[in-house]
Amino acid sequence: MVKSKKGIMLSEAFPAVLTLVLVAVLVIISIYLFTTLGSTFTADSAADNATDTMITQFGTFPALVGLVGTIIFLALVIGVLVASFAFGRGKGI
């Protein structure tokens, strides 16, 4: 029988948010590395253009990281609500 899970448990909150922070820092460091790498290429060369495109693309990731974080917190809200008031045997929050 398939057990449906509803939301994130409070015990999973810290690892989930820590993972999110690590991903955010990784994206930032990547952008900085691409910027440094791009400065070593000849201006307007294929490598330089590719690096600039990569920086532009990676620049959209912080907003997506924010979206993931919002979803994590909303899932936490649902998880706490369900664990507190769900039918059936509660296994705690």
Binding site: S11, V25, T35, F73, S84, F87
Partner: protein, 168 residues
């Protein structure tokens, strides 16, 4: 089927502790990213032919919103129509606010401005964008805390006054 109503008092401390740890983690992350944004080295950049006007209204350069923007210097100002240089004595430039103010009674409604500045790069921009996103989380953490405490209230009420109570 047994219906669970609320959080038991014995679960209160771990629940609130989890929320506190997540809150501290978010605050530390924001502080760390704020420090990171100012640690990126300054890089030089320049703008050529920014369309502007030197009139009775001061003009503010367009790149002032770039992350870590600092040390702007005007290289030249050209009249767009005639191509003639607008002499530096005809305007005053305030580096602190990056505004150009007309110093004469003459007006140049369409000019090109060439200027250089320094900023901290795309890494700094990504960091400030991430900080903006993380800044929305404290409100959500507060919401989770409110739900936990309301569930605690209900849990204590139910376990205190329900039939066949087994303690709080």
């Amino acid at each position: 089927m047994k219906t669970k109503k609320g959080i038991m008092l014995s679960q209160a401390f771990p629940a609130v502790l989890a929320v506190v740890l997540v809150a501290i983690l978010v605050i530390i992350a924001i502080y760390m990213m704020t420090t990171l944004s100012t640690s990126f080295p300054l890089q030089s950049s320049g703008t050529i032919n920014e369309s502007a006007s030197i009139t009775s209204t001061p003009y503010t350069l367009s790149n002032t919103t770039r992350c870590g923007y600092t040390n702007p210097t005007i290289s030249a100002v050209y009249n767009q129509t005639s191509g003639a240089v607008v002499a530096a004595g005809n305007y005053t430039f305030n580096p602190a606010t990056s505004t150009i103010t007309n110093a004469t009674a003459l007006q140049w409604p369409t000019v090109y401005i060439l200027y250089n500045y320094q900023w901290r790069g795309e890494g700094c921009t990504a960091t400030t964008n991430t900080i903006t996103q993380f800044a929305t989380y404290p409100a959500l953490i507060g919401l989770i805390g409110v739900i936990i405490f309301l569930a605690l209230v209900i849990g204590v009420l139910v376990s205190s006054f329900m039939r066949g109570r087994r303690g709080v």
